[in-house]
Symmetry: C2
Subunit: 615 residues, 2 copies
């Protein structure tokens, strides 16, 4: 297969970084109105072209005076001055302050001619003849002289300054209403692959269609790195159409990112376009996830080919492309946010590649951080949100041992570990309870796997159901009953378990290890015993017994789509999806806590919710 | 004066925080397209309504097989299978894998019926009869089963989740193209004051006009805190117009922020509107800067009145209002970024108020952080950008001592101290040199003050000019000459210093402590000596000698505006502003470094630039 050639000669990560850094993607500077300038970066120095303030300005309410007239004034021995008039902010003074005279003045007003200081109103009294001043002031007191804030000709802000509220304030004070800023690199995003469907449109699973993930994650990443994403309609694997889109994007953008169709023909098109109009500078980087990476140019545009799997694509983007976009936009690299924790499980390295292992974090009751790898297999998108950061494992490290201290590089400085890590059954009532906690993470791994993980000491809580035994060492936080049975087409003639076994009913099961599956198997076993038959015989008679699905709604959705007659599920799901229901029993859903974590605030909160929120 | 009443009873900061937290400003949730969702916060839980993937999916390129057929296969003893066809991504399989049969399969393709594992292409060889498999696989190997990523009914993302590239990826995978998010609180911003002019429009300094700063800083702050700013045209102090704008904003917004006109009448309007239509809950908070603060409601809208001075307004906004906006928008409080440093100077507290002292940071050569207060007097906007954060000083602390360790709360986690702190003369050539350093901070305080600060050990470098002596302890990094003289209207009949003394020429001087002023005074003294007159007599004869300005371009700009005939300035300024020039001499601009800071990279870089960049 032709795409094997691209991985022959993997570049070390440092080399890939250099090649991407050398790409010419710096856009031209542009001018934006001040109201759109937040977050942008100055392209040029801005000098003050006027004095701020432009006049000697009273900085307090009070009386403008000649300081010399107040010498000796005190609380016990005030000096009396006549009052010639008043000056308010925003008006030209029409009074002159001569010896023995004061003028009432408001904060922000122009100091009238002759006055050189302000006595604050709190240290004066109105008198019949004018005003009694109860304190002496020095020249300049309570006056901001012209240019004292910033003076004409001064360097106000340097090139490269990122504009926040504070800089925007200074620019306003200078009367600047538009500013020259670094351009945003324009980044064309092309996803390739016949199987991709845009979110919002119907997806045909039988034909292997899936939703396009990379266009949206990469666009969001481009935006966060200061670029301007342009998502091109994806062109399937059609040779000519793909070539056309690549050319169009290259003509219009500073950088083109394609996220790889895994098909050989798409790779061929990209190679051909680069050969014809550009320059291939790197193919393949020795990093996992994400080794397939192309770097080069197409026409005047830079080009980076990202891998197809979302986690790999985002890892390569974040590691190599985002820093280059930030430098093109003039943005500073964010502070690297790291957390040190202990490995909760052993993590083995399969090959000699530099690895960025996605990991999740969980805090123990004593505030220590446990680190566990998140690996849901190539192509899983949930790894995106189930991890908090990555641990870097060098090419020559064989494994990370349990208890080993590792440094986790968080995906961003704003990432915080979840307050609660739960694993186990998916359940509608549980989802509602979780909604009432702050930042929980819940992995619906099923009862059997949840039990295993709780025993391994990773999660805070495990949610189990079905007839399987509850682990002895766990603490029960609470439980509830749920009704389960067959979710059926309202028209279908299914009234009980017997129909599954005896009639030609197309059934959809749940996977082993889930509570419902265990309950269902127990019911079939009981039926077999009733009939005096072997359990295996009864199971075999159910058409679709081996057709398992992972989600608690998955069988019901197959029934609704007409792909099956009956599915294993919950009574509540039948109601939600407007389907018929044949009750077969109830099972208990139990929330178990790791015995050392019962004092964690989130675990206590969950127990409280379970105690008060009875249905 | 009527606005005195509002400060009678200052609330402690904690009380102010509570009152603002109680304001009802939470907007309704809204639905946004996925492409606009970055940075928004989910208003509701999103559950998976389909299985991802929706089919059993090959996760590698290779051959779909029955695992049972590969038992015993190895490099030395491959198993040969016939090949029934091929399945590509995005198509429905048209082959069935029976015993002894394989199908070529691409990554992402639907597993054909009968197959339960994939052998990767690297472990196979094409043969005449089909394919030789050189490894055994287990059922499920290199296959991502339907729903393994996320299954229908699972809780995908909880309410309150902030959407980054990763969450957007998961939502795309679920086919979601729009999401319910927390609304952005709509915040009306009203600046009051007859003296305010919008940036971009001409400002009349003689009439005390200044540019409006608060509308823009507060709008940028609102945006950064997740709100949607609406800047209303400012209404001056016109009673009825202000009342109309307040009502309009209150009808249209979740929160109205006015930033205070200092005039009593504006405060009266606000009090009246609140009395008629709302509820005043707090007036005045015991914090500096910023005590004048009003909190209440107007109609259905919440209301906060901010002080008029930009630094005070932004401090009050940041301390009390921004956290409430973030909670309304569902955004997490940013991690507080703090830096510990040593006070470089003594800072005295004037009164018993809780203070947030704006401070600048500078790093010594050994990496320690020095902290110095930034206080340019009430109303200065440059304090906004010359500070890096604040030090909190309790009401009962009298002073911070030199060397005392203080904790600086940075304005944001992205604030980094400048690489170089310079003080001294403003100079065009210096501005260009500074443009070539990364993040320098330069305070144009003039020669005399620069010398004082360098001796106090605060800045890294001081830039001095004129005949005054260079401090002995400083290290000279480099120097250049600049030509100075009189900047004149090209039509004016001024040809030398004599004309200033003998004719009726309106002159504009520079302030004491600047290098140019010292050079000018020395030249006048020389003229006096020449003529055998007292220096004071000669100075007195110059019309405008006492009219000083702070900026090196300020006198020239007064000449250009027609307000004066001649101004003290640099030859280069005359060229820049297209004015006439009468040379009077040259002076040396010297860049001095703090002797302990010469090893700082930024100081070394500046020395390098001075050595290579000779004019």
């Amino acid at each position: 297969m032709s795409d094997r050639r691209e991985f022959r000669d993997l570049a070390p990560p440092e080399r890939a970084r250099e090649v991407v850094e050398d790409l010419a993607i710096d856009p031209d500077p542009e001018r934006v109105p001040l109201s759109d300038a937040r977050g942008r970066v100055l392209a040029e120095r801005v000098d003050a072209t006027l004095d701020v303030p432009g006049f000697d300005r009273a900085s307090m309410d009070g009386y403008a005076v000649r300081a010399a007239d107040t010498v000796g004034a005190s609380e016990v021995d005030p000096v009396e001055l006549s009052v010639a008039g008043a000056v308010h902010a925003g008006e030209e003074p029409d009074v002159t302050v001569r010896e023995g005279v004061a003028a009432e003045i408001s904060t922000g007003a122009v100091m009238p001619p002759g006055a050189d200081a302000v006595v604050i109103v709190e240290r004066t009294d109105e008198t019949e003849a004018g005003v009694a001043v109860r304190t002496a002031v020095t020249p300049g007191e309570n006056v901001l002289v012209a240019g004292a804030d910033i003076a004409a000709g001064a360097r106000a802000l340097g090139p490269g300054t990122e504009l926040t509220a504070r800089e925007i304030g200074l620019l306003s004070a200078l009367g600047v209403d538009s500013v020259p800023v670094r351009g945003r690199p324009r980044v064309g995003i092309i996803s390739t692959g016949d199987e991709l469907v845009r979110p919002g449109e119907p997806v045909d699973s039988d034909a292997g269609e899936i939703y396009d993930v990379n266009s949206y994650t990469v666009a969001a990443g481009v935006e966060a790195a200061g670029g301007e994403p342009v998502v091109y309609p994806h062109a399937g694997d059609d040779f000519e159409e793909m070539e056309r889109v690549l050319h169009e994007a290259a003509d219009d953008c500073d950088l083109v990112l394609s996220s790889g169709s895994t098909s050989a023909s798409a790779v061929d098109v990209i190679y051909r376009v680069i050969e014809e109009r550009g320059d291939l500078r790197l193919h393949g980087v020795a990093i996992k996830p994400g080794k397939p990476m192309l770097v080069g140019t197409i026409g005047e545009s830079a080009y980076v080919g990202l891998p197809g799997y979302p986690v790999s694509a985002l890892t390569i983007f974040r590691t190599f492309v985002a820093p280059r976009l930030r430098s093109a936009a003039g943005l500073a690299e964010p502070r690297t946010a790291t957390v040190t924790g202990e490995m909760a499980v052993r993590e083995r390295s399969q090959d000699g590649r530099h690895r960025l292992v996605p990991v999740g974090l969980v805090e123990t009751a004593t505030g220590e951080t446990l680190v566990y790898p998140v690996d849901k297999g190539s192509g899983a998108t949930t790894s995106l949100v189930e991890a908090d950061g990555t641990v870097t494992v060098d090419a020559d490290t064989d494994y990370l041992a349990v208890g080993e201290h590792v440094e986790v590089r968080l995906f961003s400085p704003s990432v915080r570990p979840p307050t609660l890590l739960g694993v186990g059954e998916a359940d509608p009532r549980l989802s509602e309870l979780l909604d009432r906690l702050e930042r929980p993470r819940y992995l619906p791994v099923g009862t059997r796997e949840a039990t295993r993980r709780l025993e391994a000491g990773i999660p805070d809580v495990a949610v189990v159901s079905g007839p399987d035994a509850v682990p002895e060492a766990a603490t029960v936080l609470g439980s509830w009953e749920r009704e389960w049975g067959l979710i059926v087409d309202p028209q279908a003639a299914v009234s009980g378990l017997d129909d599954l076994v005896d009639s030609d009913v197309g059934f959809v099961n749940r996977e082993q290890g889930s509570g419902l599956r265990a309950s269902f198997d127990a019911a079939l076993d009981a039926l077999a015993a009733d009939r005096g038959e072997e359990p295996a015989t009864i199971r075999h008679a159910v058409d679709g017994y081996e057709l398992t699905t992972k989600g608690h709604e998955s069988p019901a959705r197959r029934v609704r789509s007409g792909a099956a007659d009956a599915g294993l599920g919950l009574a509540s799901t039948a109601v939600d999806l407007d389907l018929g229901f044949v009750p077969l029993g109830t099972e208990t859903v139990t929330v178990l806590a790791h015995p050392d974590r019962t004092e964690k605030p989130s675990v206590e909160r969950l127990r409280e919710l379970l105690e008060t929120d009875t249905e």
